[in-house]
Symmetry: C2
Subunit: 450 residues, 2 copies
């Protein structure tokens, strides 16, 4: 039932494109959903993609172009004329149209808008181009069905019939007053079940959730998730209905957010993918590797001060790794738990102190267990009691310090308006490492009487 792309099938399609066998190609594509064709396009060169898209029905082609990931779409569209692009954009939902146009050079953008046959679409697009892509206004589409509060069901259905082609998924009809101010909504279910002469005002739902154009995308996502909404209307400050955001766009926001947070945690900047060019991947990864390297150089410089000590007790060097990795692991664990609780905004905001106390309790248990085991190991392999004491007290201190840093850093970044996900990344790990070595060599210098 669902389509699975294979190498053989791809070769077959590429072969048809090569031979310009439009007829067979059309038959092959007819059996597929637009989303499946999108998957095939990702495996093609721009020229092949252009040929394939142009063989399809314009409506299907439009759906596919709307579905494509921005980097590939930008690449493909370089081979399209503005006329061709406008033919497809004409059939887009307005939010998708704006996304596509924002990826284009300003000249192409203006040409496409000027060439749009559907002038209402052009007006919609010009309206939406004002908004940042990461606020509600940038996510909304203008396509929706609205009804005046004074209408009856018959008028509602008439309006629905008029808009049916433009508005793919209806969910609900929005109820407005004479000044286009949003008053509430009317579910399709209610319309189906109501008598034709029933007035809108007697059955519409006045208890509803809306967002203002300036709300951040993540806030909208959190809201739609919390209240299980399929669509949410967007209003301006005067309460005038401007558009709506549908759940499929929000699902995309959620997955993108999760993926970019994971990458940030791993020390990768920007939305890079495995099949991006070597150069793009290097750009995304090198900065954080350099941060780690700087940390390593600082650590080298720092440990250099204790070279004399190391000459006397070379066994000290053996515990550098465990100090570093324990600090790193505890720091990442702690900050991930804090991050998760920052992302979940439904509860009451816990104070910093309460968080720290709990984190310290966990640190105490974990730290004691680890230090005791390592203490035993040291005695077992015949190291001196003093060295064993130094290593284990350094470990315990490192667990506490890393717990502290892991708690405070994401909270501080969040307060400063920086994505706290980077707090689990190389930067914090590096800082934790350095603090750990400091504690270790400091304690060693003091306790080993060097």
């Amino acid at each position: 039932m669902t389509f699975e792309l294979t190498k053989d099938y791809l070769d077959h399609i590429l072969d048809l494109i090569e031979k310009q066998d439009s007829a067979t190609l059309k038959i092959e594509m007819e059996g597929l959903y637009p989303a499946d064709v999108t998957g095939i396009l990702y495996e093609m060169e721009s020229q092949e993609a252009r040929y394939l898209i142009n063989q399809l029905d314009t409506k299907i082609g439009a759906e596919i172009l709307a579905d494509l990931d921005p980097p590939e779409r930008r690449e493909f569209l370089k081979n399209f004329t503005s006329e061709e692009i406008s033919r497809y954009v004409n059939l887009f939902d307005s939010d998708d149209a704006v996304d596509l146009l924002n990826e284009q050079p300003i000249r192409v953008r203006e040409e496409v808008i000027a060439l749009l046959e559907d002038r209402e679409q052009a007006r919609f697009i010009l309206d939406l181009l004002h908004y940042d892509e990461d606020v509600a206004g940038g996510l909304m589409q203008k396509e929706l069905v609205k009804a005046n509060v004074n209408w009856n069901m018959n008028q509602c259905i008439e309006e629905l019939r008029k808009q049916a082609e433009d508005v793919e998924k209806v969910y609900a009809v929005y109820v407005v007053d004479d000044h286009e101010r949003l008053l509430g909504l009317l579910s399709l279910k209610k319309i189906v079940l109501a008598h034709k002469n029933t007035k809108v005002e007697s059955i519409y739902d006045q208890d509803f959730i809306f967002v203002e154009t300036y709300r951040p995308a993540e806030e909208v996502a959190e809201l739609m998730q919390r209240y299980d909404l399929d669509a949410v209307p967007v209003v301006n400050v005067q309460g005038k209905l401007l558009g709506r955001i549908t759940i499929d766009d929000i699902v995309d926001v959620i997955t993108e957010q999760a993926s970019s947070d994971t990458l940030a945690m791993a020390g990768i900047t920007g939305d890079v993918e495995e099949d991006d060019t070597v150069w793009r991947q290097t750009q995304a990864r090198l900065p954080w590797l350099l941060v780690g390297m700087m940390g390593g150089i600082l650590a080298a410089k720092f440990i250099g001060f204790f070279e004399g000590d190391l000459k006397i007790v070379p066994a000290m060097a053996a515990f550098i790794p465990i100090i570093g990795s324990t600090g790193g692991n505890v720091g990442i664990q702690t900050s991930s738990i804090i991050l998760q609780s920052l992302a979940d905004k439904s509860g009451l905001d816990t104070g910093v102190w309460q968080r720290l106390i709990r984190m310290f309790a966990v640190a105490l248990i974990n730290g004691l267990i680890i230090s005791l085991i390592v203490f035993g190991f040291n005695l077992l392999i015949g190291n001196e009691l003093q060295l064993a004491l130094v290593v284990s007290s350094a470990l315990l201190s490192v667990v506490f310090l890393a717990s502290f840093m892991g708690t405070v850093t994401p909270l501080a970044l969040d307060k400063l308006g920086i994505n706290p996900a980077v707090a689990s990344g190389p930067f914090i790990t590096t800082a934790n490492d350095l603090i750990g070595y400091g504690v270790y060599f400091g304690l060693a210098h003091l306790l080993l009487d060097l």
Copy 2:
């Protein structure tokens, strides 16, 4: 418009509960959405929560209980009798009912089912209890509206009217034959716009996506996301319509997956939250810290072999951290990129070799830049040329090895059916560290003529 929980408001509500001021409490709660009340409950003790829930209208109470996170719900329900639970479960959607019952001891589960007033609900629940919670059958609800293919619109609307109370969000009417086999679907929009005497068979959509009961939850999520579906029908192997999965449940699957992947990456087992008990947090974190510790002990043992070398060239110890952290950082970056591409199943499966070649190209650039800088640093601070060469060639090798491990490990885990997200966690970092130290000391021993 949206509710924000404050400490003051919470204290006010707790005060009302303390005073058993049911009347004021009811008025306060009336202005809130169920999801907001859920947020308040998370801040309460079980007894307070029970009192508050019992003051609410049973329907609202049911919605709130359905919405609660499992750990808190299990805690709260300990104070409820089976009669009370059954009164709420009676009004649940069947999928939520099964989730709740699965959290209960078997005795409570059977009592609640026996006590359910709505016997159809009891039958639905017994049907659904068979399925694992992470397959389509475990996500589906039995509540849906279906129409026989031989009906006309009037009959459809009649059926819709009958089911309207039970099926909160309709999306589409499912079209079945006389043997309950799923033939297609009919959107509400089409029903509204069609003439009352139109036959279902002449307008229903035969081109639709469904899933079988045994499909894994993530596959359903991926499918609904790829095809922008609001709901997907679930069938058995004979094609008989059994239920449907709605997008809100899938949004939950997606967020839970993302959150548990992030935690796995950070070396945390199980779905632990910041406000879980200290003991539970320790349990979730200690295992991976112990893995890291074992790695550290192994590293110590290993570096111990080279104690003689360190006595002669103590400056070698200074570069232990940079070797470890570079290996760790490169490994995490690489595996995160592979993980991301594994999660995105739309494209063609890239072969291991192609992946490795690209990864190695990135490794070559990053590795060369880092080794050259560190080489310069070594000469600058007056270290011997030989040591500088050892450190930089070890760094370059470590970058390659970590890229190799970071690519191969998640792929291998995925093939073995283990969640590859753990590959970015402490286990791999530890393995990378150990390999790194091995290369470093091995090279040193060889090149420094120790």
